[in-house]
Symmetry: C2
Subunit: 192 residues, 2 copies
Amino acid sequence: MKELHDAIKTFGRGLGKDVVKVDMFLNHRIDTQLLSQMGKAFAEEFRDERPTLIMTVEASGIAIAVAAAMEMGHLPVVFAKKSENKVQTGDVASAPVYSFTHKKEYNIRVEKRYVPRGSRVLIIDDFLADGKAVEGMMQLCEQLDSQVVGIGIAVEKGFQPGGQQLRARGIHLKSLAIVTGIEDGKILLQDD
Amino acid sequence: MKELHDAIKTFGRGLGKDVVKVDMFLNHRIDTQLLSQMGKAFAEEFRDERPTLIMTVEASGIAIAVAAAMEMGHLPVVFAKKSENKVQTGDVASAPVYSFTHKKEYNIRVEKRYVPRGSRVLIIDDFLADGKAVEGMMQLCEQLDSQVVGIGIAVEKGFQPGGQQLRARGIHLKSLAIVTGIEDGKILLQDD
C-alpha cells in the first residue's frame, strides 16, 4: 500500500537487523489519516470474505482494527487482553503466546460471550513476525467455535517465518507492507 | 449522550458500589457504530477549542481517541504508554499515576518528539473516577510545553471526585455519561 510504504520510508526507523520502529505514525503517535486509508485497504481486500467481527490484541492493534471495522459497515471489534496469568474458566477462551521480543510467554484471553459462535472473524494486527500472536488468536477462534476468514497485517517482517507459514496453509493473509530487511538503519520494502 | 446512556442501561453492569463494567461495547468488545457517534459528540463539543492533537493513554482510551480524531479532520493521536519503571531522559515526558483499582503507582510516558511544543491538546479517556490518569496526562502536557484545551471522557463516575475537581479549576470537561451510583447491580445515570 503506497501511503504506508511512503510513511515507512519517511518516518520508519530500523534498529539492528530486525527491529522496525513505526512509532511516528502507528505505535505511539497515530496518523489517523493514514489509519483510515489502511482501514479502506483492508475493507477492499476482505469484503468478499464477509467477516462479521474483527479480532485484535491490545494495545497497538486496536486503532487499526477500529479503522478497518468502520470501513466495513461498522463491524464489532473484540480485542484480546494480555495477562501474565493463565485464565481457566468456561467463560473465557485463552491461549499462550511466546514473545521473542520480551523472551517470555504471556496469555491472551477473550470472554466467550463477546464472540457469538459461528462468527466469521477477520484478525487484524499491526505486526507479523514469527506469527505467534496471530497463532494465539487463531486458537482463541477455535475455542470460540468461530472461523478465521482472513488476516490483515499492517507491517509484515518478510524475513521472519510467520507470513510464509500462514500462506502455506492457504489462509487469506494481506500485509499492507512487507519489510524484506534492514540495512544500516534503512528499512527495505518489498514492492507492492 | 443518548446512545451511550442507552448502551450503559442495556449492557452495562454494576459491581459492588463503584465498579462500572462496559466490556460489551467499549472495553473488550467495541461497538464501532457507537464509537463513531461518541467521536462526533466530542468533535461538536471541542471544535471551538481548536485542538491540534489528541492525547490518551493505552489501552482502552485508544479507540475513543481515534474515533474523535477522525471526526475532527483526522487529528494526530498520541497515546501515553504505561510502564512499571520510571523513565528519566531528556527525550521523554513522564508522570506517575496512582491506580486505586490496582493499588499501585505506575508511570505514563510520551516521547517528546511526537508532541510539538505549543500543541493544543485534547485529552480523551474512557473513564474518569479519581482523575489520576487525567492528572498524569496534564503533567505530561506541561512538560511538553503544550496546552490542554479540553478533556473528553466517555464515562465519568460522578460519585468520585475527579470531575468535580477539574470543573472547579475551570477546565473544559465533557463526559458523555455520568454515573451517579450503583444500586443492586443497576447503574444510575445523571440526566443528559
